[in-house]
Symmetry: C2
Subunit: 195 residues, 2 copies
DNA sequence: CAGATGACAGATATTGAAATCTGTCACCTG
DNA sequence: CAGGTGACAGATTTCAATATCTGTCATCTG
């Protein structure tokens, strides 16, 4: 059922777009470049994505979804105790972001531009993450470990840790002492949640 | 001892610079404009500020200091109980920022550009604010209301409330529901601090 | 005939020459 | 002679012409 390798699919276009963005950056990456990379005319790209914006948006969504999926594994590990899971989930989010930002700063900057462009996609991603957090908090409430209204509490935890996952703070993630700051905030939040 | 009104002082240059920034914005405000507004040659401005950057930095500092001074009043009100003082201080910070951003968005954008340019001035301003918070937390620890190491706890509170005072989030401050989000975060933090 | 093409019009970006600005300094002036 | 000036060199910005890109669509082809 999988189409032959040479068939032009949305998937192949997205991969080529990621590569073009990596090479040229967000300002210079054009639809013509993507078409050239695939060896087709740019008109063909427009058969799969109505506009350049739609294409960039789809690439952005893909990138964010990869992070969500990684974290979903931790949120769903219902065998572990909620406090630990919350800590690990937040640490994993911080770690994922910090590595993305530190390992390839240019690519990270590229995606930061894209996420700024497509606020609604980011909004959905955040709702997704808050839902994962809600799952953990709700588990804690069920256990009796936490006292809280899960959804608003999860949202508060997400907002309170913004410094450790919002791309706007990426510069700070390299500085010494951030880990202590992270731990201090998470400790304080966990004390606030704990019965 | 106060110099006559027509004497060129650093103070008068700073006032003129604020006005020029308000009128022309950060990108188009030039030293020549400032000199023109004061009716002097631009060489005279350079007698008081070594570079354009030094002038802009001084204006930025003045602007930040005005906020610090307002908040210092609340932090220093040692007659009131620490938990209330902490809430009021954070609410006052949020309120001050939100009004600056909402009442004159262009001027706020101008100063956001300036604060991005002069990170060290912002750093000092933040240290100043964290010191004020530390004072409140320490008072709470003395009372027995809070359990915490005042300085790191104050820093954690500051970081955890970044969403409600960092200019990068200014867009969010207009949205409905932010007040509830603010209250949720502050409640959680206060629960964490409280013995 | 489904899918690809490339010519085209209007929008956007690039480029380089001209204009303006920054920072210095030798020289005024009250 | 303290404080101010304006001409100047080099850096930066502006602006208009030129080039490139986006999105459409009539046409082509396997």
């Amino acid at each position: 059922m999988a189409p032959p390798a040479e068939t032009l699919t949305a998937e192949r276009i997205l991969e080529a777009t990621e590569e073009v963005l990596r090479r040229h950056g967000p300002a210079k990456a054009t639809v013509v470049d993507v078409a050239r990379a695939l060896g087709v005319s740019h008109g063909s790209v427009y058969r799969h994505f109505r506009t350049k914006a739609a294409l960039r948006e789809a690439v952005t969504k893909r990138w964010l979804d990869r992070t969500s999926q990684r974290l979903a594994g931790i949120a769903g590990a219902t065998d572990r105790d909620p406090a630990t899971r919350l800590r690990e989930w937040l640490a994993a989010l911080f770690d994922a972001k910090r590595h993305k930002a530190g390992d390839d700063p240019e690519l990270f900057a590229t995606y930061t531009v894209l996420t700024d462009e497509y606020g609604s996609v980011v909004g959905e991603h955040i709702e997704d993450l808050v839902t994962q957090l809600t799952e953990i908090v709700a588990a804690g409430v069920a256990t009796g470990a936490f006292t809280a209204d899960p959804r608003p509490a999860a949202r508060a935890v997400f907002h309170a840790t913004g410094r450790f996952h919002d791309p706007g703070y990426a510069r700070e993630w390299q500085r010494p002492g951030v880990d202590e700051e992270f731990t201090a905030v998470v400790d304080l939040l966990l004390r606030g949640l704990t019965r």
